[in-house]
């Protein structure tokens, strides 16, 4: 029996949140508290931001039944491009960003059209991209690191939101979330006949998100403030979550991934949608590339290498199935956070880096296995 998308998502989310808390607890103990210092948490979230940004797009691609193996190389290429524009052509930050975004979109158009209109499988096209974009990067950089970038550009990767404005913004968002949740609960409560025992839990949940927002900001402010890359990541999460849940485009993606035939028979046009997803992915790679270049203050030749594996793992740990039709943006974030926490903690403990790879692999398989068991049980 097919488990409901929302039921599976719930179980998977709770399992993953549990796993996250366990990891944090273990790290807290092993690192004697260093792990949860504001400074480290700030670094943690910055470290996850690039994977996070890319995972929001990757989730949509996976839901639609496709895959994108080129994100690492594309991100590297676009990041290098941004560096070159500043170092070789002395362009200002805004122009650089716009041109980089444009290039990302163009690449997305190329990959997207080959996949949807020429019907070459996404696996192959993006595998080709993985190789080709790395090659382009090598070519235009001549194998050298391109640096330094503009001071204003560095803000994207290295700076923080000023503390006061950050806190005010956080409170505003928290208040907004609370109000929206309360309105939603009112509506459900009216429609729901039996509701006495249940009404406590939803109120608890309604307070949870706003509380997390404020707590998060306070912790970040304890160090240097909310990092800009994290803001960018949160922004993409919000946008793509919205697209996935509330737009016709997003609904169509789930339909195509869930049952392509039924989608076609229902009048959904598959090609433009797949095309669109890959264009979005191109834009996201541009954003990610900019963040990385800003952080490193340079465009490097190996930027983004193997990144696609982390991004795909994040999406899958977060609940996306490579068969298509299932997955969520918040889930992917959770997956990215789980892996970033692992990386970060092991770094603090000065564990050899090969453990990170091994553990990531184990967690990925374990997460999907849990999902398989849950599906079978129903």
């Amino acid at each position: 029996m097919v488990a409901s998308r929302s039921r599976r998502r719930d179980i998977r989310s709770y399992t993953m949140i549990l796993a996250l808390l366990v990891i944090w607890l273990v790290m807290f103990i092993l690192t004697k508290g260093t792990f949860v210092t504001p400074r480290n948490l700030s670094n943690l979230f910055v470290q996850m931001s690039i994977v996070g940004v890319l995972a929001t797009g990757m989730v949509l691609i996976i839901i639609s039944g496709n895959i994108d193996l080129s994100v690492g190389s594309l991100l590297g290429m676009l990041g290098g491009f941004a560096a070159i524009l500043q170092v070789a052509y002395h362009l200002d930050t805004v122009t650089t960003l716009l041109l980089t975004l444009l290039l990302g979109v163009v690449v997305g158009v190329i990959q997207g059209s080959i996949i949807s209109y020429l019907r070459v499988p996404a696996f192959i096209v993006t595998l080709g991209g993985l190789l080709a974009f790395r090659g382009v990067l090598l070519a235009v950089t001549n194998g050298r690191t391109i640096s330094p970038v503009n001071e204003s550009f560095r803000i994207i990767g290295q700076e923080y939101l000023p503390k006061m404005p950050g806190l005010i913004l956080a409170c505003a968002i928290a208040a907004l979330l609370l109000v929206l949740e309360l309105i939603r609960l009112q509506k459900n409560h009216r429609a729901d006949e039996s509701g006495n025992a249940r009404s406590i839990v939803p109120f608890g949940k309604a307070l949870l998100f706003p509380a997390v927002v404020i707590a998060f900001t306070l912790v970040m402010n304890n160090y240097k403030g909310v990092p800009i890359p994290v803001i960018i990541m949160l922004g993409t999460i919000a946008v793509f979550s919205f697209i996935a849940n509330r737009s016709v485009f997003g609904r169509s993606i789930y339909a195509i991934g869930g049952n392509k035939d039924a989608a076609v028979y229902s009048g959904i046009r598959v090609n433009p949608i797949i095309f669109g997803i890959f264009i979005l992915q191109g834009a996201l790679c541009a954003v990610g590339g900019a963040i990385l270049t800003a952080r490193l203050n340079a465009g490097t030749v190996s930027a983004g290498q193997n990144l696609e594996l982390d991004v795909i793992a994040a999406a899958v740990i977060g609940g996306a199935s490579l068969a298509g039709g299932v997955g969520t943006v918040p889930g992917a974030m959770l997956g990215a956070l789980v892996m970033a926490s692992l990386n970060n903690g092991l770094s603090i403990l000065d564990v050899e880096s090969f453990w990170q790879y091994i553990l990531k692999g184990i967690i990925l398989v374990a997460a999907v296995y849990i999902d398989v068991i849950n599906t079978d049980k129903k």
Binding site: M1, R251, S252, Y254, N259, A263, Y265, G267, G325
Partner: protein, 504 residues
């Protein structure tokens, strides 16, 4: 008796909600060709699945004796090893492997663990020559025509020295010549003592090739008779004659102006344009009428409907007009926009996204119509709630995953989905298939409501009583052509059947 190869006694097979076979008994004499016929849903496939081991011993009631011993297979392999081979409509050949590799699949001649290619080729050639097939064993199966592929499938069974060969609709995809070749092979095998059960809709063929014929109807065995004593008409009567137990709500249908017209409508199977699935059809559907479409499986009804919906793009020719305007649909979204909708035969594969909620499925075809860019939750909830109420869809809630609903209710979700698009023409393909009696009645009521509101409904169905009970006009398709037209309640099932099977 030594003479009886297979004896099935009092076979009953139940599925949740329906009894597929009820006390069916079958006796097959050694060395004969035993024909099995019945309408769609009569129970033929179920019986065959039991005999071939797909429904293993224990999943049905009754006993089966094969060669005098109890036949209780645990699966298909068991049945095969005992000497029963079944050739289904869906071939089980490996398209990328050669004829020789397929013929001996799982049993390739070996030498020290390595396949002995030489022996494989010679043995294959031997088998093929014995049968009379002149095919190079080294050709890949996918390079053969479908007719030859079917013959290879049969050769597989012969190679296994099966005692009983069960053929399920073997000629549905064969040309005249290939059918003759098949019959020659069957007769040859008969001479060598191989017994055969032959299932087919095509009455002339069954009458020609069989020694004995058994007729199933509604899961029961009607009669087993010597083929030479049977006439065409008698066979049809046995297959079809039943009292109309179902009650069909009937409303007065007006026939107003035509809302869909097609002329010289032809659909080719593929780009070679060699085989026609639909052949020069001329049809008009009027506002306020229910037009029934009868015909055997493979007659072209579904292909006709799909082509009107924009699905066989590039393979159609002819003229189509909606409300008098010339139209040409390249994809379903265009058809939907013009008010033409199609409810597919296979609702699970083509009609629903099973992992999605009821509400999400209901709005699936109207996303652009109702929402344009953003989905308004409230509107979606309201639309879904209204559909659930109107069609009495039994579901715990609109957020229930649609896979958890029963077949009948799933069908209602699909209907609700399409009606939300406010169609002018609604083509229903086997809309009540697999639906329980109560839900069927409700679906009929919905259809009647629609035509009273001016929608034109085309109802493709294999259930003749349903067509006669509801439609005011019935057309019959046969091998892609429109063969006949009848007035709804003035025609008998035999007349429709005869038209659907005729070859004039």
């Amino acid at each position: 008796m030594e003479n009886i190869l297979l004896e099935a006694r009092n076979i009953t097979k139940r599925f949740p909600g329906v009894v597929a076979l009820s006390n069916v008994s079958l006796s097959v004499v050694r060395g004969e060709i035993h024909g099995l016929c019945g309408e769609n849903g009569a129970g033929k496939s179920t019986l065959i699945k039991i005999l071939s081991g797909i429904y293993p011993h224990g999943t049905y009631e009754g006993t089966i004796l094969f060669q005098g011993k109890e036949f209780a297979p645990a699966g298909v392999r068991d049945a095969e090893n005992l000497g029963i081979s079944t050739i289904f409509q869906e071939l089980t050949l490996f398209r990328k492997l050669t004829v020789a590799e397929n013929l001996f699949v799982g049993n390739w001649p070996q030498r020290n663990g390595v396949v002995d290619w030489k022996t494989l080729q010679t043995e294959t050639k031997k088998v093929l020559t014995e049968i009379g097939l002149d095919i190079d064993p080294r050709i890949r199966v996918e390079d053969l025509g479908i007719g030859h592929q079917q013959l290879i499938e049969i050769s597989k069974a012969i190679r296994k020295k099966s005692q009983l060969l069960i053929l399920d609709e073997p000629t549905s995809a064969l040309s005249e010549n290939e059918i003759e070749t098949l019959f020659a092979i069957l007769r040859q095998m008969k001479q060598r003592g191989v017994t055969c059960i032959y299932i087919s809709h095509k009455l002339e063929e069954i009458l020609r090739i069989s020694d004995t014929i058994t007729v199933l109807r509604d899961g029961q065995c009607i009669a087993t008779k010597n083929a030479s004593t049977l006439s065409h008409a008698e066979l049809i009567y046995m297959m079809v004659g039943r009292e109309l137990k179902d009650i069909f709500p009937r409303v007065k249908q007006t026939r107003e102006e035509p809302v869909l017209q097609i002329e010289n409508w032809t659909v080719f199977q593929n780009s070679t344009r060699l085989r026609k699935l639909v052949d020069n059809v001329r049809l008009a559907v009027h506002r306020g009428e229910i037009l029934g479409m009868a015909g055997l499986m493979g007659a072209g009804r579904t292909e006709l409907a799909e082509s009107l919906f924009g699905l066989h793009q590039g393979l159609c020719s002819g003229v189509m007009k909606v409300e008098g305007r010339l139209v040409s649909f390249r994809r379903p979204s265009e058809a939907i926009r013009e008010g033409l909708t199609y409810l597919p035969e296979d609702r699970k594969r083509h009609g629903l996204v099973l992992q999605m909620k009821v509400s999400e499925n209901i709005t699936l075809a109207s996303l652009k119509l109702i929402f344009r860019l953003l989905i308004n939750r409230k509107t979606e909830e309201d639309s879904a709630a209204r559909s659930i109420e109107r069609f009495r869809i039994k579901t715990p809630g609109q957020r229930t995953i649609v896979n958890n609903l029963s077949g009948g209710n799933q069908q209602k979700v699909v209907i609700g989905k399409w009606l939300l698009t406010k169609p002018k023409v609604l083509i229903l393909d086997e809309v009540t298939r697999g639906v329980d009696v109560g839900a069927k009645y409700e679906i009929y009521k919905i259809i009647n409501e629609l035509v009273q509101n001016g929608v034109a409904v085309v109802m493709i169905s294999s259930e003749l009583p349903e067509l006669i009970g509801i439609c005011n006009r019935i057309v019959v398709m046969h091998e892609g052509r429109l063969k006949g037209e009848f007035v709804g309640d003035q025609v008998s099932q035999e007349q429709i059947m005869a038209c659907a099977m005729s070859r004039d």
